[in-house]
Amino acid sequence: MDCYTANWNPLGDSAFYRKYELYSMDWDLKEELRDCLVAAAPYGGPIALLRNPWRKEKTASMRPVLDIYSASGMPLASLLWKSGPVVSLGWSAEEELLCVQEDGAVLVYGLHGDFRRHFSMGNEVLQNRVLDARIFHTEFGSGVAILTGAHRFTLSANVGDLKLRRMPEVPGLQSAPSCWTTLCQDRVAQILLAVGPDLYLLDHAACSAVTPPGLAPGVSSFLQMAVSFTYRHLALFTDTGYIWMGTASLKEKLCEFNCNIRAPPKQMVWCSRPRSKERAVVVAWERRLMVVGDAPESIQFVLDEDSYLVPELDGVRIFSRSTHEFLHEVPVASEEIFKIASMAPGALLLEAQKEYEKESQKADEYLREIQELGQLTQAVQQCIEAAGHEHQPDMQKSLLRAASFGKCFLDRFPPDSFVHMCQDLRVLNAVRDYHIGIPLTYRKYRYKQLTIQVLLDRLVLRRLYPLAIQICEYLRLPEVQGVSRILAHWACYKVQQKDVSDEDVARAINQKLGDTPGVSYSDIAARAYGCGRTELAIKLLEYEPRSGEQVPLLLKMKRSKLALSKAIESGDTDLVFTVLLHLKNELNRGDFFMTLRNQPMALSLYRQFCKHQELETLKDLYNQDDNHQELGSFHIRASYAAEERIEGRVAALQTAADAFYKAKNEFAAKATEDQMRLLRLQRRLEDELGGQFLDLSLHDTATTLILGGHNKRAEQLARDFRIPDKRLWWLKLTALADLEDWEELEKFSKSKKSPIGYLPFVEICMKQHNKYEAKKYASRVGPEQKVKALLLVGDVAQAADVAIEHRNEAELSLVLSHCTGATDGATADKIQRARAQAQKK
């Protein structure tokens, strides 16, 4: 155990810093790092090296070479740089490599050296050239800041949503600043620059001079500045070998240190841990590395090789040609457990477990000691936490074993933290493997910015699909977030493999993906189409269950007919319409109609569309299908809609009638001919008699004639159109009663025997409140309806007589219900008597 803390270095009284090896580098570099432009992505990301960047010769052999490696030095990509001179390299948060050229163009490459896109930092930059550039990360994305030859700054806070901002001028600035950095405060990106003894802060509105509080006197120039990972702290290195450390707002000084080295450091970065009180800065010179903080002494390391520092959230990575190391503040839990002679509960528990394994009774003693202090829970927690901070699986295991051992003596220790730590460590150990080369620490993994989703994305970016899937399965992630997403990415990669045939790719993809929920085959197909593999895209779309996704892509690929049948299958009529309108523009009319003909559902939808939008087309459609019945109806409608003049209407109706004949709908044809006849007649009537006849029904025409006193004409009309007798009687009866032409009505009633009986006469007279007339007819009503008629005219007594005569119980009760107590008392009695008699019999 004593050797375990050998690499711990105290800084002041309260903190230890340790440096341990992550990997021995595999990359077999020929150049020194100092001969390269270097960029390493945070969160254990990849490293990019641009060799010979400063050679101006155009000979091919001397062209710069861009190499990309994993953090463990595994080569990922290598390409000859054929574009302009590069000033600066940097990685975006999405692990895209941004190469800032001298002319202000930024070229974006993927992890595998695949060119993605490029953008320009604007004309001003183009004119004045780029002097220096920085890629920086904020919570909104990755930004680029550029210092131009005219000593002006231009920046974009988010390259994903490019908005260029030209920063204000620094008054009187003649030469390039000695050093500068980007800050981010209140969600706004700023630039801090040093010119001689002065510091200026640029935001998008103004340039202001700033002075760090408590800065030691005698500074004539700032040589380096460093801002912490979270933009909270700032460190300044002066030409007097003095380091000022304070808040990035420059409002407060935290500490200072005098290292007495006046040589400008190669790099200076913050080394701190979230939620730690310790502040420390790592300064690197050619052969020396120094950790300084709020302590009179510093920690010093000798650098054997040319090294490069990568600031991380919880420490600093340092890599050189041969090794890759991590330097960080020892976390509290680890310190408690491993500090020499520590009596912290976690330390005792670890001891206890070791003794237990040795089958020594000391285990019990240790355990008792912890339990007596009531600190077992805390001990277990400490061990679990410390395990997370260990890099070596052996040490992780012994700490977890200790935690597990301690847990046995606790009643209710919630298992979550232990389980999650085991899971997290398995995942972390897997990605830390040098084949993978993502040296994430537990702290980074669990930090809000890097979720498991992001880690999976990174694995996918590295095309490490199997590992990503294993992790998903191990963590039992829901398929949509996990396995299917990764498979989809895999498939998108797969379709880009141009040497494999369409069939094979489609089959391979379907075999792997199957019906995995949440996989979007259309996304994959779109990618295939993007690579110019239309056939493959169509094959892939076959597997897409969502027509809403399938159809638009098919249309884009000009497979409209296929799109149509897919849209129909879905039942989504809107989708069908969309395809139809597309087809309509794409095909000539004949072909379009033919296509419709084979798709009845589409055809009826299109008919609906035409009904409201293109009536003429509707007619053509019916014509094409020889649908004469519908054509007939179409012309009937047209006769009302379009035509004002009688002749036009009649002509339209004639067309309709012809169509009905063709449809073998004799009835409709005849009816339409009747209508034509009626129209002509109505027109004549209007001419001859005046008044309004057009568009009255036949029935109403006859009624109007009678009401106008043209009985003869009405009868002629009835004969011409063969109005049935019964209806004619009703018609006349109603009209004459309306006229209150009682004389004519009586004459009519006697013209022959009424086909509708005489009750209607009674009813209609009563409706006009003419009891006198009604009574005339009541006597003529047939026996079945006699009682009803008599009651209608109010002759209750006679109704009773008839009912008694009929010996009809229903009629008797009907009459009875009409008897009002005062007047019809006698009648009521009579009925009751008759009833009684009937019952006796």
Partner: protein, 596 residues
Amino acid sequence: MAAHLSYGRVNLNVLREAVRRELREFLDKCAGSKAIVWDEYLTGPFGLIAQYSLLKEHEVEKMFTLKGNRLPAADVKNIIFFVRPRLELMDIIAENVLSEDRRGPARDFHILFVPRRSLLCEQRLKDLGVLGSFIHREEYSLDLIPFDGDLLSMESESAFKECYLEGDQTSLYHAAKGLMTLQALYGTIPQIFGKGECARQVANMMIRMKREFTGSQNSIFPVFDNLLLLDRNVDLLTPLATQLTYEGLIDEIYGIQNSYVKLPPEKFAPKKQGDGGKDLPTEAKKLQLNSAEELYAEIRDKNFNAVGSVLSKKAKVISAAFEERHNAKTVGEIKQFVSQLPHMQAARGSLANHTSIAELIKDVTTSEDFFDKLTVEQEFMSGIDTDKVNNYIEDCIAQKHPLIKVLRLVCLQSVCNSGLKQKVLDYYKREILQTYGYEHILTLHNLEKAGLLKPQPGGRNNYPTIRKTLRLWMDDVNEQNPTDISYVYSGYAPLSVRLAQLLSRPGWRSIEEVLRILPGPHFEERQPLPTGLQKKRQPGENRVTLIFFLGGVTFAEIAALRFLSQLEDGGTEYVIATTKLMNGTSWIEALMERPF
């Protein structure tokens, strides 16, 4: 606020809350004050989801009806169009937007498609050059609207016409979507049964959509055991007959719209003030009808002949309750009485309303013509004289009774005779055309296309077989204490409901033959559930069946299904969904075509 939705076996308030949440989320996307421009058709259904107060809470300050030309002035930041995805509406919106731009401060336009966004409409807006003016273009999937604790409707008036006449399945697609929403909230429905062409299609779409949604697999314990999809054209008969339940009659006579009915005001004049008839209200009395009202819940599904006795019994109970106050002696008793007062007063108000409504209905039902019409209907349904020209219908035409009434009767006769003899059919048609005008030839064509009116094929009448097998006509009906669903039509048992009843017990296998006569395929589909979600039924626990009427349902059918749900040994409780709550009149009306 909508407590009556949660009374049933399935808490439909969950659905209502879900759609309300969606609405609020949309409104909050458009920050600042708003005016809503309504597609008028939507206001009724929306009223069941969100009152004005909800909109107001989300800064809706003005509401307009969508019409051409300029929008009315309104000092608001956002103008939101709530519309159905129809091309003609897009034209109006474009007109609004274009005339808006020329004056005043710029405002933000948004569009909310109900129930679905439409590429076709967006293309139209694009063609009209206004698509870019809309900041938010979203859809509000209001497919099924909860009407009551056991009732959902899409309120799509044209659904039947579109499906059966025009071959336009849009409403079926919406129905399938609505069912998917239901399943997302209430769990996957393990078994789907169906009868009819449209039912088949909806089931196919559902299965397809399920495949699309795999992955967002919900793990909700299924509330519904079965889904029964029924095409309206499997049972064309039922809606044609006059409904005889209380609610059915209110709908037949006055028309219930989005659970509201407008009644002639005379009967509702306040009677308290003695100075009789000072100012009689002239505006129609508007009442909301749903089971939130205790009394209505009790009587709505009764045969109208059984309503009177309930009302008088209620009247006695209420006046007795009011009399109680004389017995209240102690302060405690008085306090208790007073605490019950609001409830009692509500009950009294409700009783007064329904007594008035019942009187209004009674005036109609006791008329001779109503009696005659009913007699003819019942003769047809029981199979008497369906093959010849009917005198009553003839007289109705001769006296020019409302055309819809005539059409209902003729169609009823046709359906009850599996089509009319050509001679009879032509006679009716000629009479109708001569009396009501030749333009109705289009309506007649529509009715023929829908199968409501047709010549009898090959002189074979299948209706008696169907009637006998399914026991559609019951001679002994107990209207007061019904023992069979036939009470809702005083003799005729609605075919659709009978099919549902037979499905639950003993199963459709027993009526294969009849099912083959009825149009369209019948089928069964299973939607597999993960083992964890399979239901272990408690002994005596009823199944819950969601029955979906594609093409509309009447209140009498709903009453019949509620009757089955309440049966002690029924074994099945029903939740009813439909494309439209309708009756014979509104149904025929939707099929009519007036060229001018």
